[in-house]
């Protein structure tokens, strides 16, 4: 962990980071352009587009709805995912690999296919509960992320500590709270962050399942692009980037070291 990184490796990592991060700067710059249309590089400086977006009730509504949806989806994914990851890593169950494969399959099948399949399923069932449909659709996609990161932390957890705690007099539920939870917490947290961001950014699933009253930010952004092409689009995009960044930074600040250990 403490090895020094060689210079060539630093250069390669730097280039990769540049390729990943540089495009994110573009909408940021476009959003401050003092022109009625999108240009790059920006001309002049203004924050009016942010003001316009924040003043727009449709934009605000979509943003709040996306937050609500992501929060619910994350909660559901954790409730389903944590016990599932615990079971899959700690016990030998018949058909374990099949179960894991099924859970992770939404990561392999194109999301747009998953979305249309869910739409067909829901219309066959005659369902009109849009919110529930969205929650189910997003959870299907978010669950693999939760299970992946929580499983990793369960595998890394030291079983000896559980034996030690039991011998010291801890009943099974106390072992879970006092010894297992501190060890898997970083994994659960990482899974929650992934789940939240994946849900918040999702377009291909929402596209099929949303309606006028349940309209997530990515769909709103798309309709705005179709209607007009002013820098408020870039402002919305920048706000989304900023929000995700903030989330990651807060988590990193609070749990940074344990997350780094989990990743290593």
């Amino acid at each position: 962990m403490n090895e020094t990184v060689s210079t060539p490796l630093k250069i390669v990592v730097g280039i990769i980071l540049l390729i990943v991060v540089a495009p994110l700067v573009v909408p940021l710059l476009m959003s401050i352009s003092d022109t009625p249309y999108i240009v790059f590089p920006p001309k002049g400086f203004t924050l009016q587009w942010y003001g316009a977006v924040l003043a727009n009730p449709e934009a605000r509504g979509s943003f709040l709805f996306s937050l609500e949806l992501a929060a619910i989806v994350t909660a559901v994914s954790l409730v389903l995912g944590v016990p599932c990851a615990a079971g899959l890593t700690r016990y030998r169950v018949v058909g374990q690999d099949v179960v894991l494969g099924l859970i992770l399959s939404p990561l392999i099948v194109p999301l747009i296919v998953t979305g249309v399949a869910l739409l067909q399923l829901f219309s066959m069932l005659g369902s009109r509960a849009t919110m529930m449909q969205l929650v189910i659709g997003h959870t299907v996609v978010c669950l693999p992320y939760v299970i992946r990161s929580v499983s990793a932390s369960f595998v890394l957890a030291n079983r000896n500590l559980e034996d030690a705690a039991a011998v010291l007099g801890a009943a099974p539920h106390l072992v879970a709270i006092r010894v297992i939870w501190p060890q898997v917490r970083p994994g659960v947290l990482a899974g929650a962050v992934f789940s939240f961001i994946v849900s918040f950014d999702d377009y291909p699933i929402s596209m099929w399942l949303a309606d006028g009253n349940h309209f997530p930010v990515p769909l709103y952004l798309y309709t705005v692009i179709e209607r007009s092409f002013d820098p408020s689009i870039a402002a919305i995009a920048s706000l989304m980037i900023g929000f995700a960044l903030l989330l990651v930074l807060v988590i990193e600040k609070v749990f940074g070291i344990s997350l780094a250990r989990l990743a290593s």
Binding site: N158, N160, L161, D163, A164, A165, A166, V167, L168, G169, A170, A171, P172, L174, R178, V179, P182, Q183
Partner: protein, 364 residues
């Protein structure tokens, strides 16, 4: 911390199998109150499984475990009130030293003030005062070991279980810790069961040693008796170094056993044994029981002659290997007793030992 009378532990007919693999096979043992018993054996002999069954971490396939006369076989781990030291300490990495030590007390629902006070006492007892707020990762191996020890004894367990506790320490520190542990256990009157594959550790720490092999107990006795009177080839070979001379008993009278080695020479032993004439046995001689003299002298009792193969200087002693009719006999001479003795490879020398140092074990 007051000395509490340790509990008596009884294992009867303890078994554990995994499929067809009988890991622990009918182990019966009694550990007296305040005694330190070592389960000693090579890896895979079932000693750790036995210990984990006592702790309650593994349930036995058959047999009973009783503490002070009452069975704990069906009692779950967390209600057995035992202390255990794990091989890699198993300290909670997210808790401070004090919190680690306090864990067992907290599980017993004691008031906070009492917990802190007793945890501090236990830390003082293991010479760790001043380390209360450190994290385990910031401690050396020996310090972690002492935290684990404080954590295991702080709630006055009925029995202390040690699973290869010093394996990860270097030799010098290990020796210090062994002596410290022995003193502590004696002071507290703690009944202690120790698992080790290191015979020296067992000899230093234990009042009683149970040598295990293939899931069974080969011999239980005091350290000294095990060393001086091994009853099987395995024990004689596993504890210390032994010379084996395949032989046959040709007569027994007045506490004296006469044997003839398959290679010819006659031996006499005054060590008590339960063997009878005709049994297939081996004469066992410890290297330090052997006296060496120059030249051939094999016509006397309990002596064999051979050519020196090599001599190796080992600090406190000189080890000399003799080739006796194709079999190696090793003798160990303390440096002070050497004087002018200086065997050279190829020279004929005679090894001789007394009747009371002539051990006999049954051969399979």
């Amino acid at each position: 911390m007051k000395a509490s009378a340790g509990a008596k532990v009884e294992l009867s007919g303890l078994c554990r199998s995994y499929g067809d693999n009988q890991v622990v096979d009918n182990v019966s043992l009694t550990v007296a109150s305040g005694e330190i018993l070592a389960l000693l054996g090579p890896s895979g002999c079932g000693k750790t499984t036995t210990l984990r069954m006592i702790a309650g971490l593994i349930s036995p396939s058959a047999g009973e475990i009783a503490i002070d006369g009452s069975s704990i076989t069906a009692l779950p781990v967390h209600r057995r009130n035992l202390g255990m030291l794990f091989q890699n300490y198993a300290l909670f990495p997210h808790l401070t030293v004090l919190e680690n030590v306090a864990f067992g007390l907290a599980m017993r629902g004691l008031p906070k003030a009492v917990i802190t006070e007793r945890a501090r006492q236990a830390l003082a007892l293991t010479r760790l005062t001043g380390f209360e707020d450190r994290m385990p990762a910031a401690l050396s191996g020996g310090q972690q070991q002492r935290v684990a020890l404080a954590r295991a004894i702080v709630y006055r367990p009925r029995v202390l279980l040690l699973d290869e506790p010093f394996g990860a320490l270097d030799k010098k520190l290990r020796e210090e810790m062994q002596i410290e542990l022995r003193q502590l256990c004696n002071e507290l009157g703690l009944t202690t069961i120790l698992v080790t594959h290191d015979q020296e550790e067992a000899l230093v720490l234990a009042d009683q040693i149970a040598v295990m092999r293939g899931g069974r107990i080969e011999q239980v006795d005091t350290a000294r008796a095990i060393y001086e009177r091994p009853t099987s080839h395995f024990v004689a070979d596993f504890i210390g170094t032994s010379n084996f001379l395949p032989a046959e008993i040709i007569g027994k009278a007045d506490g004296c056993t006469v044997l003839r080695a398959h290679s010819g020479p006659l031996f006499r032993s005054t060590v008590a044994n339960e063997l009878s004439p005709g049994d297939n046995v081996a004469v066992v001689v410890r290297p330090e029981s052997i006296r060496l003299s120059q030249g051939e002298g094999a016509d006397s009792m309990n002596a064999v002659s051979g050519k020196v193969l090599r001599a190796v200087f080992k600090g406190q002693a000189l080890s000399i290997w003799l080739d006796v009719n194709g079999a190696d006999i090793v003798a160990s001479l303390p440096i002070e007793a050497l004087n002018d003795i200086n065997p050279q490879p190829g020279e004929p020398w005679t090894a001789q030992w007394s009747f009371e140092r002539t051990l006999i074990v049954r051969e399979q």
